[in-house]
Structures are given as structure tokens and as C-alpha cells.
Symmetry: C2
Subunit: 364 residues, 2 copies
């Protein structure tokens, strides 16, 4: 099989590596940045570094467009224009509806099937490319009524062979889903940070310490501005709708608080606890997550000591958060472990190291 990869950063490079080794494909690559393309060739992510999009497309049966969201309409359009009637073109962008609309009238639009792997968005650059980046990852595909069955079948098989779990989804549903679980958290982090800076400036001359809840909630504030501005803009309607629904919920919370309805507060907060557990459990194979709270000295080596002991005991850490105290010398560590037995074993291991552990608690 001949595969073309247009854009060979982290995602494109990883597709190239996996396609070469797992699909036994001949991979032609192109990138607007010659240095990136050369490096991709050096790393074996592409077999052939093409001098143009057209050259990369020669004989390709499968084309991956792996550029930033804002650059995709033009790139996908060019790929469709310069490829033959048997070639399936896909992309890896975070939003789908705008792209589909943009290329709707292009010749061969029926050969485009949108794609979105939920992997690797947290690092960038071809240096991070890995053959196994997509192993086990959900990879959404957004076929339309115009999509040819034989092309969808080819794409879907290839995605599965790259190691991912393809799933077809309507483009609009995909965008609404991402608006809720990915884009909305980013918006919230942004507005919360800005609200805090403005509100606190009124209260005191210097900004006060913020707690671990603030740190966690705002960790993605202002993430990768170039990428995220494009994502927000390309999914504006769905994100705005998600914001509007959240505004309704927040207004109701505000009303309940002002009315002093303690039972309603308890119910809303308790429900959130259950809801988060359901969401996180949904994606786990090893059983529900348990949280271990460990009181520690926040000195070099403490995290290592704990993680190492757990590693020796064969316990995997699914998620972790550090809560340094104000002095940055003491604090707490939360570890999330999948499976109750695993969690109990982990608690025992940590206690044997002499740390105080809050008993494993179901959920998080």
C-alpha cells in the first residue's frame, strides 16, 4: 500500500512510522517546513521525502492530512484535487464540521472521510513521533452519505492496523462531544484564571496563594494559543452552545446558593461525585479508579521512592496529582489506581514506606 502523509509533526510522523511498520506501506511525506521533513526521513517516519504535495500523492491509496486545524481546508482541497478517484483522503483535526463544509463543493469531496485520533495532542513535533502512539486510542471517523463504502472500509482497516480503535460518528455529534469534554474545559480554565486575576487585584496589592483546586482547574488555561484559537474558532457554534448550557447550570447554582437551599447544594455536589466516577470508569479496563492520598515531604526523591515501590509491586499509576503545601517542602500526593485490589495493595506498599495513606476511597 502507498500512503501519503502531508504534515509530519508528532501525529503525521507517528502515522508514518506506524504505517511503514504495521501496514508495510511505502510512506511518502511532505511538510511545508523542509527541516521537519528531513528530520522525519531521518527518523524513518517517511520512506520518501517529497518536494511537493503533488509528488507525495503519486500513487497514494491513502492520504493523511496532518496539519493544524486552520490549514486543513486548503490542504485537504489540494489533496483531493491532485489525487485520483481511488484515493481516500483523511485528516487528523480536532474539529470536523467546518472542514466538511469548506470542502463540500470540491471535486472528489466524496473521497474525503474526516478523522480524529484522541492521542498525542499533549506533546508536539516530529521528535516525539512513535510507532505506538495510537495503540488502543479512540480514532473517530466522520463518513457522510457521500462516502464510498470501499474507501471507508480501506481507511477503517488501516486505522485499526495502526493500533487504534476506529469509531464512526456523525461530524456534528463529534464536534458537540469535543466541545463538551475538551473545548469547554479549556474555555473554563481561561475565564477562571482571568476572573481570579481581576477579582484578586481588587482585594489586595499582591496576588494571594492559590490552592490545589485552582491549579488543577486552570492547568490548561492559555494552552498552545496558536492551536487553540483555531480549534475554538472552528467549533465556535458547538462550543458556544456548550457554554450556554453551562451558564444555565451555573445560574441555577448561584440561585440555589442565594436561596440557602443546603439540601439542593448537597444533592448537586453529591451528583457531581457520582458523575465523575461514571465518566472516568467508562474508559478503564482494570476496574473503577480508587484514589490514594499520601502525606509526604515534597523533597526530591519522594515521588520516585513511591512510584518505584509501586512499580516493583507491579501496580500501575493511572493518574497522579501533587498538592505541595505553601512551603513547597511538604504536601500530599494523590494516586489513582485502577481496580480495588490493586488499590489496596498500593496502599499497603506506600504504608510500608512509612507514609500516611488515606484509606483507598472508591471514585475520585
Amino acid at each position: 500500500m502507498r500512503v501519503a502523509v502531508l504534515g509530519v509533526g508528532l501525529i503525521g510522523g507517528s502515522i508514518g512510522l506506524a504505517a511503514g511498520r504495521r501496514l508495510d506501506a511505502e510512506v511518502a511525506g511532505f511538510d511545508r517546513d523542509p527541516a521537519t521533513l528531513a528530520r522525519a526521513a531521518e527518523l524513518g517516519a517517511v520512506d520518501r521525502a517529497a518536494a511537493s504535495v503533488a509528488e507525495a500523492l503519486e500513487g497514494a491509496e491513502l492520504v493523511f492530512c496532518a496539519a493544524p486545524v486552520g490549514a486543513l481546508p486548503a490542504l485537504v482541497g489540494e489533496a483531493l484535487e491532485r489525487s485520483g478517484p481511488e484515493t481516500v483522503v483523511t485528516d487528523v483535526g480536532s474539529t470536523k464540521r467546518g472542514l466538511l463544509a469548506a470542502i463540500e463543493r470540491a471535486d472528489g469531496a466524496g473521497r474525503f472521510i474526516g478523522g480524529h485520533p484522541l492521542a498525542g495532542a499533549e506533546t508536539s513535533g516530529v521528535e516525539g513521533a512513535r510507532e505506538d502512539l495510537f495503540e488502543g486510542a479512540r480514532w473517530y471517523l466522520t463518513p457522510t452519505e457521500r462516502s464510498q463504502g470501499v474507501l471507508y472500509d480501506r481507511l477503517q482497516r488501516a486505522i485499526a492496523e495502526l493500533g487504534a480503535r476506529p469509531q464512526a460518528i456523525d461530524a456534528a455529534a463529534h464536534d458537540r462531544l469535543m466541545a463538551t469534554v475538551s473545548h469547554l474545559p479549556h474555555v473554563l480554565a481561561d475565564v477562571l484564571v482571568s476572573e481570579a486575576v481581576d477579582a484578586l487585584a481588587e482585594e489586595s496589592e499582591r496576588l494571594p496563594e492559590v490552592g490545589p483546586s485552582f491549579r488543577d482547574t486552570t492547568r490548561v488555561a492559555g494552552a498552545n494559543p496558536a492551536i487553540w484559537t483555531d480549534i475554538f474558532a472552528s467549533n465556535a457554534e458547538a462550543v458556544a452552545a456548550a457554554i450556554d448550557r453551562l451558564v444555565e447550570r451555573l445560574s441555577e447554582s448561584s440561585r440555589v446558593l442565594r436561596a440557602g437551599q443546603v439540601e439542593a447544594i448537597r444533592e448537586w455536589h453529591g451528583r457531581a461525585r457520582e458523575d465523575r466516577r461514571r465518566l472516568l470508569d467508562a474508559e478503564l479496563v482494570g476496574g473503577p479508579l480508587s484514589e490514594l492520598r499520601i502525606a509526604v515531604e515534597n523533597r526530591p526523591g519522594t515521588v520516585a521512592e513511591i512510584a518505584l515501590a509501586l512499580g516493583r509491586a507491579g501496580v500501575n499509576i493511572e493518574d497522579m496529582a501533587l498538592y505541595p503545601a505553601a512551603d513547597m517542602r511538604t504536601g500530599a500526593i494523590s494516586l489513582w489506581i485502577a481496580g480495588e485490589e490493586e488499590a489496596e495493595r498500593a496502599a499497603e506498599v506506600v504504608r510500608e514506606l512509612g507514609h500516611a495513606v488515606s484509606p483507598p476511597e472508591a471514585g475520585s
Copy 2:
């Protein structure tokens, strides 16, 4: 000095330990739960386990009320009633205005000075009590015009000797500040989780995978329901006001998105980046935080290996987040390191282990 501690959980127990060792005080303790009180005595957190509040108060110059927020009005009232005119009474609750209002008409209300240490809220129970829990921690004090100078002076000195950094603040300002940096993030986590569960139930039969941004933003959703319901209720007006301001910001974001104002989106997102950096830098001694992104296999031992190597190199990890990929076998780790040189050294250490590291990037 004689100190009484009413309620000897994590905070009360730690106050007892620190008062005994650092103030050379004789510490009398009381707790409604006899087992907790006995354990506190065993751990050396109290010198004398009293059979009643009155007995604990005998001869005390300084009284710490360390009960949950909802129990404080009655407890502080009793402490004022049963202690002499030279005794200063304080508390450690997360909100201050409601408590002050509740005891306003109590005899000796002028001897009460509210307190709130920003420490240790993330673990619970006397087992976690430590002498150094408050080392370097901000400890807000909320004197009023009725507070006697000599009592404030005694309290403030004692707090400093416990290792904390006392700071006087108006009770209403304190509650507004906490509403923004602590209570509001909890409300947001709650509503985001519930919104996601409802919205996603409409899109698909099973809940989809959620990304790292969702995990981070909702980590405190439904935290300690008993404690948090009380906190929300006791700071209802300030939290509602913070929610209302956030609703305005969110509505503006929604408007900007719908209007397709890409430059406004870029500006808001970029501003959030700057704002978070300012907030986090404000509390650091070691210089601005840098983030290192490390691509890893998410197997037992990886975190340990990295943390251990950094420990050997003398680099401390201020904050950490794991981003497991969908297969839970690969992923990325973010480390936040204080100080640019430290961060560069850390990146080098991690690279030497063979992991790909995104170049240290200022801010987070």
C-alpha cells in the same frame, strides 16, 4: 503557655503537635469522638485529653476551634462562654463572615479572632497530623474593630511560631477571595462533570473517553461532600457573586465565538496564559515555573525512574500531571519546575534517560 485545641483531626492535631514542640505549650485537647481524642493523645498531639470543652479550656490563654465549618458557631460560642476575659479564641474554618455574624452577640465576642490556615485540606484525620503542617503556609486572621490588640498580638505571634505566615484580612474580603480561588473552582468542576454526563448521554450509548483537560478541570468535582456542602452554604453570597461574574465572562466568550471574532478569541486565550503565569509565579520563591512535557511509556517504574533521576540531580518537582493515552500504556508527563536553570537541567536529565522532552517553556 496553655493552649486548648477543640477538635483534634488533621488540623487540630497538627496545631497540638506544633504548639507542644514549638511554643513549648501545655496542650489540652477535646474531641466529640473519644477514639480520635485518645489517638491524638497517643500521637503526642495533646498533653491532656479533656473530658469536656470546659475541662480543656481550664487556664487556656489560646483556644483553637478546629471543627468543620458547620459546627463552628456553636463550638466558638461555647469556648467564649466558658473561657476567661484574658483568653483569645480562634478557629481554622474556610469561611469567616457567617461565623463572625453568628457569634456577634455572644459574651466576649471581642475575644474571638477568626483564622484560616491554607494547609492540609487535602488529607484528613489525626493520623495525618504533623508538627510541620503549617511551615511556610499562609494563615489568614480576621480581626475586627472589637478585637483587643493584646489578644491579636498573642495569636499572631503564636501562629508565626507554629511556622505559618499570619496575615490580617477583612473577613468579607477573605470570603470573597476564597470564593474565587477555592470555592468557585469546585463549583465549576461540579457543573462541568454533570453537564458532560448529560450532554454525552444524548450523543452516544456509552460514555466516551475524556481527555486530560477534562480530567484536570474536574479533579475536585464532588470532593468531600460533607465538608464542601458546608463551605458552599457558609459562603453562599460570595460564591454566588463569583459565579455571576464568571457567567458574564462566559456569556461574553459565547458571544465572541458566535460572532466569529477570531482576534478576540486569540486575545482572551493569550491573556489567560499570562494571567495563570502571574498567579502561579506570585507564590513561588524559586523563580517562574517552567513546564517540561515528556513522552513516556505509562508502565510501572517510568515515573519513578524520572523522579529518581531528578532527585539525584537535586531538582524538585513543584507540580506534575500524567496524561495517559487511551491504552493506558503510553502517554505524556508534565513536570513543573521552578527556575529556568533548574528546568533546563531537568530537561537534560530526562533526555539522558532516553525520553523525548518538549523544550522547557516558560509559564504553564
